[in-house]
Symmetry: C2
Subunit: 481 residues, 2 copies
Amino acid sequence: MDKQKSLHMTPAEFRKTGYAVIDWIADYYENVDSYPVLSQVTPGAIKSRLPDAPPDSGESMETIIHDLNQLIIPGITHWQSPNFFGYFPCNTSGPAILADLISSGLGINGMLWSTSPACTELETHVLDWLADMLDLPDRFKSTGTGGGVIQDTASSSSLCALIAARERATKGKSNEIGCRDKMTVYASSQAHSSIEKAVMVAGLGRKNLRFINVDDSFAMNPDDLQDKIEQDIKDGYIPVYVCATVGTTSSTAFDPLKKIGAICGIYNIWLHVDAAMAGTAALCPEYRYIQEGLELADSYTFNPHKWMLTNFDCSCFYVADRNELINSLSVLPEYLKNQATQSGAVFDYRDWHIPLGRRFRSLKLWSVIRYYGVEGLRKYIRRHVALGQEFAGWVEANDRFQLMAPAPLNLVCFRYRASDKFNELLLADLNSSGNLYLTHTKLSGKYTLRLCIGQVHTTGKHVRQAWKMITEAAEKLEATI
Amino acid sequence: MDKQKSLHMTPAEFRKTGYAVIDWIADYYENVDSYPVLSQVTPGAIKSRLPDAPPDSGESMETIIHDLNQLIIPGITHWQSPNFFGYFPCNTSGPAILADLISSGLGINGMLWSTSPACTELETHVLDWLADMLDLPDRFKSTGTGGGVIQDTASSSSLCALIAARERATKGKSNEIGCRDKMTVYASSQAHSSIEKAVMVAGLGRKNLRFINVDDSFAMNPDDLQDKIEQDIKDGYIPVYVCATVGTTSSTAFDPLKKIGAICGIYNIWLHVDAAMAGTAALCPEYRYIQEGLELADSYTFNPHKWMLTNFDCSCFYVADRNELINSLSVLPEYLKNQATQSGAVFDYRDWHIPLGRRFRSLKLWSVIRYYGVEGLRKYIRRHVALGQEFAGWVEANDRFQLMAPAPLNLVCFRYRASDKFNELLLADLNSSGNLYLTHTKLSGKYTLRLCIGQVHTTGKHVRQAWKMITEAAEKLEATI
């Protein structure tokens, strides 16, 4: 169907279509548990149904939304299904979606303070709020020498921390003359793949990333860290960066920050802490033990877009000394100069990350924090952790299954007491049913199922159903082998 | 006001508040020309009005939207005002905003093909469409060895191209052992600051970035490029990357791609082309001369979030050989392994950029292309270029003003025939009026005003008003000095 004659959407058309889109989303959430969680399409299936060429004449939004339903939805893996237990959660919520919509409407670019002062100041302020809410050390707040900034993902946060660390270790030489020195980076064998990626991007070389051994609970062994640092120094390397993880992706292991921080202090190594999913748990005083020692860190990142009800993208990145970060990333051409920047009285967030342009992302974070309130957010996290603990209890009580790692929060790593192949088949059976979605990892060399509870609308009912489906699928598979 | 009792927003509340937010945006666009374009607040003014602590109990969306109007809007620089002529445009449109809203609602993470096949396949397909729409060389299409991906900004696109270039030049050694070699990068003195930032981030060192001289129209001088490359080779450097610009930020200069490409061919240097704003003009056959020679490039980027009606963020990045890019950025941990990835039959876009997580951004691009159609988009661009040409004509016809650079498209660089100081004061007067917003640059060492026409709702009326205000402000300033 061709659209109306005018080139742009009129305000009246925007209202009408906007209401329809709002309804579309409300309907989606009312029905999302009826879709197969994991999309069941084969490679190329979606693409093959799209026309080879774009239309010459404009089409109506009705036609586009019709095609969304027909052509796109079958290719969606429903991260917002209450039966989604894969990877990590990717939360959304009404207050986040609607505030992000306002951000789209405002359409401002917050690259400099002056290009929308509210974009910078709300972000700084809300990230200070969050620091208090999580009881982060004061040094990460903008009221001292530090401050927070919203990045797209923890991958980017960890990369920016590495750039600043590299500059500190080389006294500003890396940015000037390049990575001439032999520099080393440390993370546990369980750290996120983004650390290896950052080491590659920043020009340090993955051979210079040391994977530190972990203990039985998959947490970094600080003695091995110190040994490897000492060996590297003997061998003429400059250790620049340690990434400690608060809640590994694989199994929610917590690296011992206090001990790691003390070691970083001895050798003057930048300590970055990646708490991408688990960090949100520190909203609750009873889980703050996970970040004990964080006062020794130089930078910290966690993602409200995972488990804090704020739709993607929203990764919070804090540094203890903002000047180290800014000096590592700032380039100021004439066309970006302005009075406020020259005065030094403002933050220009373009100097806190890779991109120049930036969206007004703090609006959605502000909206979420205010809509739920600190108590509401705590209640939300506690529900998920309680469900996680309940599920872990069922696994432990069942002789046919075993827990593969401690399950301190909302992620449970387990396997059926059988071969890797059996567990692979079990996962494939479950996921192809469309009734729930889990992913896997390897722990102690064994193929392990991961059930992560963090989807906004997951309740006890969904977790009980999941366990029922898992045990039944295992029995059935056992019977057919 | 406290919100209702339930923790999450109910579907009914989402519908009601959603309609209100849609109305808020429609109202905003109906009134945006009544706001001062440049926010007139002083540093700290917004922050000082925000409460020190977040609320313990949740608040209603009505309260939050009330505070948005009272506390935030005064700190907005209105990029969507038809009187915004600063920097570059930051377009939005109804079809983009609403499709992006659907993306927020779906809340999927497209990091892997399997985590939502439609997210990957629609993106690949729409970027192939765009390649045809712009008449980009076939080598950039996914149907051959290349392909496109959506990044957040051209800064990130240019960085990823540099990583791939570095890997090519060192035969994979940079990622393995780090930037041990002395590597050089080339861009004109007018290239965007993101190139210098990329060189720093990637560990090459800004001293190894060669700024190539430009001609009278501010386009790169290819002879100087070749001379500098030869000298570097003599001096033991490895030239890895040339960034040519199609439409510099400062003045829309077009680097001569054919000649630059031929030089890159001789020395096997990666040619990246940055067409962030101006690239969109190639939708119209009559402006395609700007990218002549693009078939010699290894990568290309332009931003639909600037001048193609697609709200931020949406930077399209194309490579001629996708394997070079993927091999430079791929790290595959166990927890991300899956059948589709192992089969090699799919793209996993996490390997095409820095972040792991990714939003479903192609929805908004698809929606824009379909809503406007190819002809609608051309019409849109032609209107802005016509207005730019008209404005440039007025400047040329006025003895008191001078054009400072060719104005081939929608950006006009000009100054009043007086001192730099005078022009600085003129700009400050104009911007503090709130009636329009321009920014500046330096060309030929002189302080120069930039008027960029690219805002969606800018018409002849707004451009005429702008010229009237500029000439009157200059007269007034002249009289007071």
